[in-house]
């Protein structure tokens, strides 16, 4: 239980309890602000009853034709706020907007295979492993270099589920650009 609302620039002053987690990257300012200025309804925050941030999700829409889709850029929840269903709530926020506001065909996301808890959660939310992306995550001294799982879930517009037929071979990062 939390309040899920739009993320605001002022929230950046209070994300430390979330971003100090080792799986969460702190990006340059421009990265957050550009998402806010382009897709404000796809960047949401979860706030506790006491007014503290518990997690957030950054998303965008991109692609052409049948590749028009919602993308989860970052989804993170503070360590003490895990196992509460927050990530599901935030995902639902993005899926709803992708479906109802942007009329997308599918939603996709990248995740570290080593983050097994996250992979399992996405699977329970109906996401399938669509393809692997070679060396998507670069090591930074804290986290190692790693492949990414590109996971997808079809939205009602993709009637035949074409967007979620898994690829057989890994792809390079360049092949994932829309």
């Amino acid at each position: 239980m939390a309040t899920i609302r739009r993320f605001k620039a002022m929230d950046l002053f209070t994300v430390n309890n979330i971003n100090l987690d080792k799986y969460t990257e702190t990006y340059p300012l421009g990265f957050y602000l550009s998402y806010m200025s382009q897709w404000p309804d796809l960047f949401s925050a979860a706030e506790s009853a006491g007014g503290r941030l518990m997690g957030y999700m950054m998303g965008k829409v991109e692609g052409k034709g049948e590749l028009w889709h919602g993308h989860v850029t970052a989804l993170t929840v503070a360590p003490e706020c895990r196992r509460l269903g927050l990530a599901r709530g935030l995902m639902r926020f993005l899926e709803d907007a992708s479906e109802k506001t942007y009329d997308c065909y599918f939603v996709d996301l990248f995740v570290r295979p080593s983050n097994k808890v996250a992979v399992r959660m996405y699977e329970t939310l109906g996401y399938i492993l669509y393809r692997q992306v070679i060396d998507y995550y670069m090591g930074n001294g804290v986290m190692p270099t790693e492949y990414a799982y590109d996971m997808r879930r079809a939205l009602p517009r993709d009637v035949g589920g074409k967007s979620v037929v898994p690829l057989k071979h890994p792809v390079s990062i360049e092949e994932t650009f829309f």
């Binding site: 702190t26 360590p79 930074n140």
Partner: protein
């Protein structure tokens, strides 16, 4: 043709070879001295190379020429030049000049608007919006005007006419609504912002009406749905608010909606005063719905916390309408919530404030501290004791059970703090069992979050007990205090070893290492948290300036630069994104971005980072005589901060990050405050260290009158600052004032210069460790972390300033320069004899001294049992702390020694 001619210039600029670009411009100008584009690009190249005056001169000349700005290359180059030089007014002047010749060019109109908008030139922004709308009449330009008026009314400094601006904005936005130009939720949000700024809730509700053409889009926007409920509550339409909230809560689990629902229900009950049946009906309906939602899968937490909220509201309102039938007392409701969700890590932070509100009796509160109800505290303590034993016994069973114990222990901590328990023994009661669970159990080996939380909780209790038993201001217990800090660090290091993902353990360890003057190990832990970008502003306070205070000048300078460079980046990034918000039509971001920009531009930590960078730079340059020239020519006046500037600073520092277990207003129990190695930087600190380079500037230029005046300001600031400045900061001021006195005495011949030189020598000399201090006996070990290293770093800084002053005196042939130089040379000789002794001791003997004083000692202390546990069962962590301390002190000694060696006279 022109494009081809300019290609080499652009190519050079594209690869950042600005000197080559300048050469290419000169080459073109030799062939054709009237080549305007080459002139404009030359201005840009000169600006990039730091030749601002010439760049501006060329720009001004070009702009005076008729039609020059109509040329695209000239215009672009001049815009780039002025943008680079951060001169938005000149950028607009370029576009204005171009507009005269290209009156139909829409992009020039929008560029003027975006330049003004992104640089917070609100009046120009509004005028530009009106102009572009008048010329091209597009829907988006109407909204540019509305947003311009809105932000002008809210953010323009100085006397303005906010009400008129808002009224105009409202008229335009409402007309847009009538004309069906409110076509998306961003338009609607702007209208709502305008109406909200005027407190016009009825009109806001009307805009959010379910019958509006935007109804479907509103329904798909969760924030707007919530805003509508909020407005219904604000307009006291409680019945409609209840219905709207209930309808929303039937489909989603959102805390703010629960909160508004409760607020509406309580409002309705109040409205029915005198009609107990109606009141009872509202209450019953509310309880019924909450019960229904609590039985929905995944919804229990929200609904049950809402029941606690309802009980709290009823508690405050003092209703006696038979609510006992469906809502229990707040105390009972709190415990019902704890019983249901004690196995969730979030449980404590959900419920903590309700405990606090429940036991604080607002009616009897005083200004200093709210009164506490002992009866209610006893009630909660009784409830806790009925449960805690059970959860403790079950903690090994599962992670959920362990989490339940953690939550109960957190509640115990809070109740103890609320009771004002100042018995250290009671604070450490049970900590041994925490450590057994957190460090030795199978849960710990499995790296369960709860076991790591238990280690943290143990440390929080130990810290609380330590500062109660050994206050910092009681010198006789300093030996015990440092030993206790060392012991707690051992626990923290073991916790980090077992679960390095727990950043809270690292934050506490950073603080405690700094309390022991161990910068290097603290910095390693800080770096392991990968703190960067915005975190420089919010978390930099943990460590920025500490390296300077502990002799690690270069690492501190690097960190200060990291902060300064973040703020410089923000200076470019935020205006760019403001432009994007206008271009993308996401107008509701604009007030948020402006507020964010203001918070960063006027950030407290930004000032701190600049001052620390400046001090570190001076120390670095203090190795050479060049520093005097730098001090002579530097514009130190511009860094003076007035009261109004200081008052407008925003404190973005995140003081809540340390996982505090008590509300922030309970300072005595606030571990963030208790663990500060020195007072956090205050407004007084910023002012003092703004005056300091100014004093040194007047020393360098030998302006005694100004020097005296500045010294007076410095001293009065210190007097005002009280304890917000550390003793070390005050010592630096003392040293600087003494340097100033040497000058004034010499030039005004008011008293003996020799006495003043002796005074300065004494100040510096007391901070240089003598041979005994540099090789401390085990019994004196506490002096090293508590004073020796910090004193040494402080006098090193003062010595640097003194050397600068001496060089200045020599340059100006002041009569005391030889005597001054001789005195400083003697000091340097002593330092170069004693500091190596400290370095050698840190390298060779520190570890055994720590073992003798803090590990293998039989002297009893509060934390002896914990020390024994760590010594016998967790030797590895103990070794880590011993090594961390010794290595850190060694690095401090090396840093200081290197400086004295190179700081020649």
């Amino acid at each position: 043709m022109e494009q081809r001619q300019l290609r080499p210039v652009y190519d050079a600029l594209n690869i950042d070879n600005v000197k080559q670009a300048l050469k290419e411009c000169d080459r073109l100008l030799r062939k054709n001295p009237n080549h305007l584009s080459a002139h404009a690009l030359k201005a840009y190249a000169l600006a990039r190379l730091g030749d601002t005056d010439d760049a501006l001169e060329i720009g001004e000349k070009i702009l005076k020429l008729s039609k020059s700005a109509a040329n695209l290359h000239v215009r672009q180059a001049l815009v780039l030049t002025y943008k680079f030089l951060r001169r938005p007014a000149e950028v607009i002047a370029v576009y204005n000049a171009a507009q005269k010749h290209l009156p139909d060019d829409e992009s020039i109109y929008t560029s003027i608007f975006l330049t003004a908008a992104s640089n917070e030139m609100f009046s120009e922004q509004h005028q530009a919006a009106v102009a572009v709308n008048k010329a091209f009449k597009r829907e988006k330009y109407t909204w540019w005007i509305v947003v311009s008026l809105l932000v002008q009314s809210q953010f323009e400094k100085g006397p303005g006419n906010a009400q008129l601006q808002l009224t105009l904005a409202q008229r335009m936005a409402e007309k847009a609504l009538q004309d069906h130009h409110v076509t998306n939720t961003e338009h609607l949000r702007v209208l709502l912002l305008v109406l909200d700024a005027q407190g016009n809730h009825e009109a806001m509700l009307s805009a959010l009406s379910l019958n509006s053409p935007m109804a479907q889009q509103i329904a798909n926007d969760p924030d707007l749905v919530t805003q509508r409920i909020d407005l219904l509550v604000k307009t006291r339409s409680f019945k409609e608010a209840i219905d709207a909230a209930a309808q929303t809560l039937d489909t989603r689990d959102n805390w703010i909606d629960y909160k508004l629902y409760i607020e509406a229900a309580v409002g309705a009950i109040k409205q029915f005063a005198g009609d107990p049946d109606a009141q009872q009906q509202v209450l019953s309906d509310t309880c019924e719905r909450l019960t229904k939602w609590s039985h929905t899968r995944g919804r229990a937490r929200g609904a049950q916390l809402a029941t606690v909220e309802l009980a709290a509201k009823i508690d405050v309102s003092g209703f006696s309408v038979g609510h006992e039938s469906c809502v229990r007392s707040l105390g009972d409701q709190i415990w019902a919530y704890v019983d249901s969700f004690q196995n969730k890590a979030i449980c404590y932070s959900d419920i903590m404030q309700y405990f606090v509100d429940n036991v604080r009796e607002a009616a009897e509160a005083t200004d200093s501290s709210p009164a506490i109800s002992t009866a209610l505290l006893d009630f909660h303590s009784d409830q806790l004791s009925q449960r805690i034993q059970q959860v403790r016994q079950n903690a090994d069973n599962s992670e959920d059970s362990a989490q339940a114990w953690v939550n109960m222990e957190k509640i115990r901590y809070l109740l103890q703090a609320l009771r004002g328990d100042d018995d250290p023994e009671k604070w450490i009661a049970g900590v041994d069992s925490f450590l057994k669970f957190g460090l030795d159990s199978k849960n710990a080996k499995a790296k369960q979050a709860a076991s790591s939380d238990m280690v943290l909780l143990a440390c929080q209790r130990l810290i609380q007990a330590m500062f109660l038993a050994y206050p910092r201001d009681q010198q006789k217990t300093h030996g015990l205090l440092t030993r206790a800090v060392f012991t707690i660090l051992c626990v923290l290091e073991e916790g980090i070893r077992l679960n390095g993902e727990n950043f809270l353990l690292k934050l506490y360890a950073i603080r405690l290492y700094l309390c022991l003057s161990c910068y290097s190990r603290a910095r390693t832990l800080y770096d392991s948290l990968d703190i960067k970008h915005i975190q420089n502003d919010t978390l930099g306070y943990f460590i920025v300036g500490q390296g300077l205070a502990l002799g690690c000048f270069i690492p501190d300078l690097e960190l200060s630069y990291q902060g300064v460079s973040f703020y410089d980046t923000a200076y470019v990034t935020i205006p760019h994104e403001l432009e994007s918000a206008y271009k993308n039509g996401t107008y509701s971001n604009v007030p948020d971005f402006l507020e964010f920009n203001d918070n960063l531009k006027n950030s407290f930590q930004r000032q701190v980072s600049h001052r620390c960078a400046l001090r570190n730079e001076t120390i670095e340059q203090g190795r050479s005589k060049d520093v005097v020239e730098v001090l002579e020519t530097t514009d130190t006046q511009s860094i003076e901060l007035t009261d109004s500037v200081l008052a407008s600073l925003h404190d973005n520092r995140d003081f809540k990050v340390m996982g505090l277990l008590t509300p922030l207003d309970m300072a005595q129990w606030n571990l963030e405050i208790l663990t500060r190695p020195t007072p956090v930087h205050s407004a007084h600190w910023i002012r003092v260290f703004s005056f300091l380079p100014q004093v040194m500037h007047y020393v360098a230029v030998v302006d005694v009158e100004a020097l005296e005046a500045k010294k007076g300001q410095l001293l009065s600031t210190v007097a005002e600052a009280g304890d917000s400045l550390s003793v070390y900061d005050k010592k630096i001021v003392q040293g600087i004032c003494c340097i100033a006195d040497i000058y004034t005495c010499s030039l005004e011949k008011t008293s003996s210069v020799d006495e003043k030189i002796d005074e300065l020598v004494k100040i510096i000399d007391t901070g240089i460790p003598d041979e005994e201090t540099a090789d401390p006996k085990p019994t004196d070990l506490c002096k090293l972390p508590l004073s020796t290293i910090r004193d040494l770093a402080v006098v090193t800084e003062i010595f640097t300033y003194a050397v600068c002053a001496k060089h200045s005196a020599s340059r100006h042939n002041l009569p005391f320069s030889n005597a001054f130089g001789f005195a400083l040379t003697q000091l340097r000789k002593k330092a170069l004899r004693c500091i190596p002794a400290l370095k050698s001791w840190s390298n060779k003997s520190a570890r055994s001294a720590i073992s003798d004083s803090w590990v293998d000692t039989d002297q009893p202390m509060l934390l002896s049992d914990i020390s024994h546990i760590m010594r016998t069962k967790h030797k590895q962590a103990l070794d880590t702390v011993v090594k961390g301390c010794a290595d850190s002190w060694l690095k401090s000694a090396k840093g200081v020694l290197a400086h004295w060696e190179q700081c020649s006279l």
